[in-house]
Amino acid sequence: MIKMTNVKKAFGTQTVLSDVTFEARAREIFGLLGPSGAGKTTIINILTNQLDADSGAHGIDVSAYETGMMLDEDGLYTRLSCMDNLCIFTDIYGIPRLKAKEALKKVGLADASNKAVSKLSKGMRQRLALARAILHNPKVLFLDEPTSGLDPNSAQSIRTLIETLRNQGSTIFLTTHNMEEAVKLCDYVVLLNRGKIVEQGAPEEICNRHNSYKTVPDLESVFIEVTGEQFCAYENETGIGRFKIAPSA
């Protein structure tokens, strides 16, 4: 469904992606994992034709219209209400405005429908961006860190929504820093580090391969094993659950 073959990308002298090859199959939740700066957003930008790769091939099996996107920047109109933001897109897609109402309900924003975006919290904005991405029931959905910065409850409801969408037949391509989330949610994951794929497969399969199964599949130790680097959690004012990379001891 989504394919990338030998893709290379450099910004100036900095190589951001080297020889990236993977395939996401239809009706699966595909997770692209990696620390900050690994190149996850760059891959999404290339797949969605917002950025040209230096070499290699890539493609999606459905038309641009049949894809939905929630990007790293939400691109919402801050002076307009939630409903107005969505209605711009129902109009562009030529679908009934009722769909906007439905989408707001799905992400739990029905009560905020007339609130201006500038008055929403970060998590609410994120959910609104997700609502916009699923408005037209796209067959392929790109989600760049859909749960980052959300409180545990909201994150869980987003994950439930993602699973529902998959069960209804959508293919979901998501990126995350959160290994635990990936294990719970994804059918297939690609571990990316500094622009290189270091491991890929079904989460449990990867963990089995690396005997990293303790009580639950532990992708994090796999990552440390294959890269010698660490995904480490830190807490700050932006909240728990963001990860940065630290040199291994």
Binding site: T48, Q50, L51, A64, Y65, M69, L71, E73, D74, G75, L76, Y77, T78, R79, L80, D84, C87, I88, F89, D91, I92, Y93, G94, A116, R132
Partner: protein, 236 residues
Amino acid sequence: MTSVKAIFIKQAKDMTKNFSVLIMFIIFPLVAFGMTELVARGGMAGMSEYISDTMFVTMMASIFVGMALIQCACGIIAEDRETKSLRCLVIAGVKPHSYLLGIGGVVFTASLLTAIVFGLIARFERSDFLAFMLIMASGTIASILLGATVGIFSKNQQAAAGLSMPLAMILGFGPMVAQFNYNVGRVFSIFYTQQINVLVNDFSAGITEPLIVIWANIAVFAVLFAIAYKKKGLRN
């Protein structure tokens, strides 16, 4: 067509909530009204003998078209670019001409309404009113295209303001300098703002030739916009 309509509605709603843009469409006629009533018609200190009834209207109208509109169109596009909302539209399949027509349509409508107010303040005769509207409409299209080009080249609103401000100043005030200096007038006569200034000051001289210059400007700006779009895209 549905995209144009969607963008038009979005922009119209957004503009009513965006004071910094809205004010431009109000302040120019307001100042023109005040000056016309107090100075030109009010006979303030006997000045009215030297000042025609329409002088302040034509002055403010030509500054409005040549300055405020460039910045307005430029600011809107630069903001959409900076917030990445434009990127969402592009991804949803909105073509550049649809986007431009939607945004430009709102600015154009607002500008025409403002032009009507200017015309009422000046109390133009019917035929003069029509000529005035024709000139304002043509100038508005030129300014929107020029502003859009600058807006697309700018990464964010600050950069856009930095670029459009001096440009608008030159195009807006140049014609006024030209009134006092023949050589400046000759140089500026190739720019649409100069032609607008000449036209709104004197309809009797015939509006065909100046309109040709204005529409030649529009053609050049349209090409510039197309190049800017190709180079910068509406992405990222």
